[in-house]
């Protein structure tokens, strides 16, 4: 599955461009699990370590849709699951 990380997390993970992960399921939670397994330094940066909820200034986009408010265990769009579209993790434009 293709994932685009925000610049600060790309720098933290020392990657450029898209990353690819192989989650167990096609859900945001499974994608984040797979990201954190492959890049342990990103643990807790997308999903709060203590509540397991999406961090409030992080957004999830895919297929020109805002998926941020979908349950984290909801299925992702087929185009994301198939790899034809990336799953975008975005640092919200908040704070100026």
């Amino acid at each position: 599955m293709r994932v685009v990380l925000p610049p600060n997390l790309r720098a933290l993970a020392r990657v450029e461009g898209e990353i690819e992960v192989d989650p167990e399921h096609s859900t945001a939670n499974a994608v984040i699990d797979a990201i954190e397994e492959r890049f342990p330094m990103l643990r807790g940066t997308i999903r709060d370590l203590y509540t397991n909820r999406r961090r409030s200034h992080v957004r999830f986009f895919a297929c020109e849709r805002d998926l941020s408010h979908e349950p984290l265990d909801a299925p992702l769009p087929d185009a994301v699951a198939s790899g034809s579209e990336p799953f975008l993790i975005v640092g919200a434009i908040s704070g100026g």
Binding site: L12, R43, I46, L49, R55, G95
Partner: protein, 371 residues
Amino acid sequence: MSGVRVLVGTKKGAFVLTADGKRESWTVDGPHFPGWEIYHVKGSPVDPNRIYASQTSSWFGQVMQRSNDGGRTWETVGNEFKYDGETGTHQWYDGTPHPWAFARVWHLEPSLHDRDTVYAGVEDAALFKSTDGGATWSELAGLRTHSTGSSWQPGAGGMCLHTILLDGAHPGRIYTAISAAGAFRSDDDGASWKPINKGLHSNFMPDPDAEVGHCVHRIAMHPSRPNTLFMQKHWDVMRSDDAGDTWREVSGNLPTDFGFPIDVHAHDPETIYVVPITSDSHHFPPDGKLRVYRSTTGGNEWEALTNGLPQRNCYVNVLRDAMAVDRLDDCGIYFGTTGGSVYVSPDGGDTWREIVRDLPGVLSVEVQTLA
């Protein structure tokens, strides 16, 4: 040849400033972790190549960094700060109960004896300890669960544990300070704590002399005289000579006794430094003049140090963790400003020079004295 390494945390990354013992010619390395708030960077007194850094972001949370080569390269370590047991509540700004929730690490204090042991002071206020180089963290929960904890309230910057002093002369003794709860002391390695705020007077509280609730900004101690503590409070500069059991005011002739940092000369435990700020509502120096004040009498009698510091149109602040001293002879004094300048005085405060300017706002300054 001896030298110094200054570790600077800013609102948008960390910088490492190095110089030889003359402290005249500086190399500026950074930004490390660009774009992230670096609340604090501090090296181990046992192994100066071991450095810990608190990297944080309102977007992406807390990341902890560790260096084993004096800050040239870094690796992430554990970032899970889980409160031990029932978290309970403290007071929110409006006086209602508010659940304790981890926000960030404000201050890191490496052990005096073991490079892999380090303490972390966090928001919401609690003390954590790692004995494996930062890989895992355990709360010393006796502080947060003190009987007064439910009455603690955050200061404007959050309810942060910002000061950790390790007393090398009294094994097991640790001091901490929390805004706005006050100062606390443990004599059993952090297992149990007592508030040490007797003598503090805070007019913003319903009971100005209450046991807790004081907005302590910073405490400093000279290692050779560990029962003497100096405190910059929200208002008032204070001194204790009995390990915090009682305090007395030593603001003396300061132009204002509001401020954030306070530090002690490396070789003279009665020489102390503060940076007076106009007021709690005007966080900038009086009259647009950036002046460090020095007392060589342990307080009460203060002199303004201005040589090399801007004396007109200067409206920066110096935050609580943004002052440090080296151990060279003469003792070097360092501070960083919210305007992004870092200053050094290589002669105990007599003269100052700007090491670097136009960095992001400086959150913390520490210095390592290198052999």
